[in-house]
């Protein structure tokens, strides 16, 4: 399942149909599909379909299963749609995103250190063993989502990693609280932010190092962690071995992989990846237009509310006179999902889906909706999540970096 095609042809077992003939079949079929039930006008009134505009080869990287390869150097690998079957994403299925192409491929646990410096009374140099033995271990189930997840669905298209919906995963993270590490170092009065980086680097010195910062209040939040385990195992190298920052509820750009240093600073950090990149329009749904770009921007932060379809897949054919379990996952910044509603009439009417048990405030939450298509025809299914503080999704959304997607997803299917 998923839009990725396999690299090479050794696993292509489909009967060979000449392309022209195949396209002919497709168009003939779509003409026949326009049956009474849902009018063409209803379908067209819905926002554009979220069918993947690009396809990427499925490639296996070390410690990973076959993932959709957007790029090889640096590795940017997307989880196929089938990955959404799991409440807890297996480590090998978890998406991979690196910015700079010199990434760690070998780490010695005996020599790797997390250095804590800057506005602290006591500088620290901690091994992974130190983290495991000197601090209280904590665990959280939390969604990790790329800021640019679903970027390829923005219209007009924007430059950047052309992700579909799979730059996201949900895992159990185990490690220590960042605030406990900071307490051991004793932060001085006047500290305003923590700046941190990992082992990755650029091949040339002119590229700004990938460093991120958190306001000191956020860094002291009991939820923010330094994890040494992912789903009770050491994390794959490509997901940040041996330790990574975990900022539940915030986008993955803050979840620094292969974490190696934390610097406490008394002035706001002005590095490229905070001051110039990863900025969003300063309005609730991160909106701007190509001709009127937002003048007021802020660093991207807490995740917007959204729901993603798992089933049906785009353009799936569903048997008429059947009951179909529509399924998806809803996320927010940790306030908690209150409800997910589904529409099969382009948003005219909405029916509440059933939520699975909550796995924790920062986990995604599965929803299910038993759908009985009224009659054969084309449908635009939509799902809209709302959290407990009333934040919900937009009907249309655009920003020039393709960040913080929370436009209501539409999946077109055919009932026949």
């Amino acid at each position: 399942m998923g839009r990725g095609k396999r690299a090479g042809s050794q696993k292509m077992n489909f009967p060979s149909i000449p392309r022209r003939q195949f396209l002919g079949l497709m168009s003939a079929a779509s003409g026949a599909m326009l049956l009474p039930g849902v009018s063409r006008a209803d379908v067209d009134a819905a926002p554009p379909p979220t069918t993947a505009p690009a396809s990427f080869p499925l490639v296996k990287f070390p410690e990973k299963s076959e993932l959709m390869m957007l790029s090889d150097r640096p590795p940017n690998l997307e989880m196929p749609l089938s990955g959404f079957a799991h409440d807890i994403t297996p480590n090998e299925s978890f998406f991979v995103r690196w910015h700079l192409s010199v990434i760690p491929t070998s780490v010695d646990l005996k020599t790797h250190r997390l250095n804590v410096s800057g506005e602290v009374e006591t500088e620290l140099s901690l091994s992974v063993e130190d983290l495991r033995t000197q601090f209280e271990p904590v665990s959280v189930i939390a969604v990790n989502q790329c800021s640019g997840n679903s970027r390829s669905l923005y219209s007009p298209r924007v430059m950047g990693g052309q992700w579909n919906n799979g730059a996201i995963g949900n895992a159990k993270w185990t490690g220590v609280r960042l605030k406990d590490v900071l307490a051991k170092a004793k932060i001085k009065a006047g500290a305003v932010e923590v700046v941190y980086k990992g082992l990755d680097a650029a091949p040339i010195a002119t590229v700004p190092p990938f460093e991120k910062s958190l306001p000191i209040a956020k860094a002291q939040d009991a939820d923010v962690m330094i994890a040494y385990e992912m789903n009770d195992q050491p994390m794959p190298m490509l997901n940040g071995f041996p330790i990574r920052m975990i900022v539940p509820g915030w986008y993955a750009t803050y979840w620094m992989k292969a974490l190696s240093s934390i610097r406490v600073v008394s002035k706001p950090f002005t590095g490229f990846w905070m001051a110039k990149a990863y900025r969003i329009p300063k309005n609730p749904d991160c909106q701007e237009t190509p001709t009127n770009l937002a003048k007021d921007t802020v660093p991207i932060n807490a995740m917007t509310v959204r729901s993603l379809f798992f089933k049906p897949a785009p353009n799936e054919r569903i048997a008429a006179n059947s009951t179909y379990e529509v399924q998806g996952l809803a996320i927010d910044s940790g306030k908690g999902i209150k409800k997910v509603e589904v529409s099969d009439d382009a948003g005219k009417t909405w029916t509440e889906a059933k939520l699975d048990k909550e796995l924790g405030p920062f986990s995604w939450r599965r929803w299910r909706f038993l759908w009985q298509p009224p009659k054969a025809g084309e449908y635009a299914l939509m799902a809209r999540a709302t959290n407990v503080i009333g934040q919900t999704q937009t009907v249309t959304q655009w920003n020039h970096s393709g960040y913080a997607r929370n436009q209501i997803e539409v999946v077109r299917v055919t009932v026949a």
Partner: protein, 112 residues
């Protein structure tokens, strides 16, 4: 290296590394606690055309050509801005007179 060759390389590496359970043992059992992976290497996937080699030469210093080929079609204005960003923000070693040639090539494969 041909595509099939690196696929085989990944396959063999994966076989040696085993699944996640073996991965854990590998960490525990390695005397010096060194954990390593071997990344696949892949050839540029840019199609032929004027200035193709210049583009490969300058851009792949920092990233593979797949960062280009994954993009949809963009206007000359957008590609010009992107090349400018690579030169001025990231310090890509592209001479000013080469920037337009690279934009020409990008337009030929992903222009609109």
């Amino acid at each position: 290296m041909k595509r099939t060759t690196w696929l085989m390389t990944i396959g063999i590496t994966a076989l040696l590394a085993g699944g996640s359970a073996l991965h854990r043992n590998a960490i525990a059992d390695t005397p010096n606690d060194v954990h390593s992976i071997t990344l696949p290497t892949m050839q540029p996937d840019l199609p032929d055309g004027p200035n193709r080699d210049l583009t490969v030469n300058r851009c792949t210093l920092c990233h593979s050509t797949r960062l280009i080929t994954m993009q949809p079609k963009f206007s000359r204005e957008a590609w010009t801005a992107e090349v400018k960003k690579m030169r001025t923000v990231f310090g890509a070693p592209v001479a000013p007179e080469d920037a337009d040639s690279i934009v020409d090539y990008l337009m030929s494969i992903r222009g609109k």
